[in-house]
């Protein structure tokens, strides 16, 4: 098992290198760079701007710049953000916890809804409960988060004035009060992301359960008289969760992508809004670093999916 994970991580290295080459090239070819503003700023003499460009090697060929970036990256130097005037890694580490907090809570909410609802609906297919769950899931699935996000803001912040609609990093107060505010401001983004996730997950859990519930070994389990709850949870769910867990792990990168939108709407100072603002301000080192972090997450969650799969299904052996 440990060997398998190690080998998978080694295999990931070349693909991550490949991804970084592509990312770097695309970003280098994109118009605009951090110094574009200097060139148009009348207060900066053109010689100074040119000297600065030369100093940072901005006019060197792409491959040279890439190798320079890679060498620095390997040594733990992620570059410097000219816009925020701080190191990129510090910047990312500053933003990451908020994103993880919001996305993590949203995923937990989604699981807490999807698993019981999906499983229960599958045990009573086409019942009233199932049909209501299906309809709600369909609606939740078809409404984009930017729409539900704005709707929530309109209802809960503007009309009812229950919840703040701007996420703040430095919450006032201490202790319980601080915790309360942290939770209060996260409610809407977590609901919006979580409900959207829950909708697609519920449909998936339900169909995975429906597939399993009619299988022979579930009948065998029922013939043992161990009770309906055990049959469903221990025998059917254990099996149905195999594809579900895998899908959830594989969807995680997309969830991070989706969080960018939510972070914009609720102005959450997370890694997604960092990406957007750096793109808008041509802060290339940050864009490069954030996209590369996303790429690493994709690889990481792929690995997690495989490991979970093997852990849940004894028929798979790690070799």
């Amino acid at each position: 098992m440990r060997q398998y994970i190690l080998r998978r991580l080694l295999i990931a290295v070349p693909s991550l290198l490949g991804i970084s080459v592509v990312l770097y090239t695309v970003l280098a070819l994109a118009p605009g760079d951090p110094f574009a503003e200097l060139a148009t700023n009348p207060n900066v003499p053109p010689e100074v701007a040119l000297a600065l460009r030369a100093k940072f090697g901005l006019d060197d060929p792409v491959y040279l710049r890439y190798f320079r970036w890679l060498a620095a990256m390997v040594q733990g130097d992620w570059g410097f953000s000219f816009v925020s005037r701080m190191n990129v890694d510090t910047l990312i580490l500053q933003r990451l916890p908020t994103t993880l907090y919001v996305i993590g809570s949203a995923q937990l909410l989604a699981l807490a809804i999807a698993i019981p609802v999906g499983v229960y609906a599958a045990t009573r297919p086409y019942s009233i409960f199932d049909q209501i769950a299906n309809t709600l899931a369909f609606i939740g699935f078809s409404l984009p988060t930017f729409f539900t996000g704005l709707l929530f803001i309109l209802i809960f912040s503007v009309t009812l004035d229950w919840l703040p609609f701007v996420y703040s990093t430095d919450v006032k107060g201490t202790g319980i009060r601080w915790l309360f505010e942290q939770i209060r401001q996260a409610i809407m983004p977590v609901m919006v992301l979580g409900l959207f996730q829950a909708a697609s997950m519920t449909r998936f859990v339900r169909s995975a359960m429906l597939d399993v519930i009619r299988l022979d070994y579930v009948t065998t389990a029922r013939a043992k008289g161990i009770g309906q709850a055990r049959v469903i949870v221990k025998h059917a769910m254990r099996n149905a969760m195999i594809p579900v867990v895998t899908l959830i792990a594989l969807q995680m990168p997309a969830v991070f992508g989706g969080a960018i939108v939510t972070e914009q709407i609720f102005r959450i100072p997370g890694i997604g809004s960092l990406l957007i603002s750096s793109i808008l301000s041509n802060d290339t080192p940050v864009v490069m670093a954030v996209t590369f972090v996303f790429a690493c997450l994709v690889v990481l969650f792929n690995l997690i999916a495989d490991v979970l799969y093997g852990w849940l299904d004894p028929r798979i052996s790690f070799r």
Partner: protein
Amino acid sequence: MAPLLEIKGLKTHFATDDGMLRAVDGIDITLNKGETLCVVGESGCGKTVTAMSILKLIAMPPGRIVQGQILFEGRDLVPLASRELDDIRAKDIGFIFQEPMTSLNPVLSVGEQVAESLRRHEGLSNKDALARTVEMFKLVQIPNAEARVHDYPHQFSGGMRQRVMIAMALACKPKLVIADEPTTALDVTIQAQILDLLQDMKERFGMAVMLITHAMGVVAETAQRVVVMYAGKVVEEADVDSLFESPRHPYTQGLIRSIPRIDLDSAHKTRLEAIGGSVPILIDPAPGCRFAPRCRYAFGLCAEKEPALREIAPGHRMACHLGEKQGVTP
């Protein structure tokens, strides 16, 4: 002595897109304590549905027991809720299923799958249940039982899985074991081993066995009494000797003639007599005898009136119009 199991007028129907499928349409089966009863019939005649109805293991919906009684030790199981049946499942009635390859849960160890019913019905601790499971595995001759209880189903061959299923069905020492074609999916050599094992177990535990099969050879070897089913009905019922010596229903006769005879030398070997035609559709069946389209003796009355099961000799019952009026016996 009251019979162990008495099925009276059982009808189990399935709601399908094309209409009500009458999988089991009014059958009576009686099983005494310690008896081996074989239920035979072609594929699709309702054997599995009958067996599954006893413990309400059929999918409901679309399935439904629309009529009849299933008396187990005098108590009707039909009106019982699933929760109440749980006390009877595995404890009093054990089940061995047709497909060893799909009837075991792939993600649980085989030992756990046996042990869980011991914990439920005998109130054993984890440790004691495992010890009893090892004991059962030894009894059904699974080599290296202590280690193998921790293995998963995919690590077993079909024959070994069926041994696990037998251990599972017998673990709580039930009064009745229902074996639904326990050997159909296995190699011929393994088939004989599994049947022998079942026979051994029956002698050791003294339980009654309801053995479902479509192989007349299996019937001849194991049964004390035989019930022949056709298209959701019982067409003949007799002790095994009378059935093989004087089968009375045309369908039974066809079944018996279709057994390959190894005791005749090749010169005398008659051609295997298969029964022509196929099983009738069970949705809106035509009135009259359901076997009529395939019956070589069919006559006017057969298409009009359904023959009732009647006693023609002590302990020998059949459902056919022949011999009732004209005195013709097939």
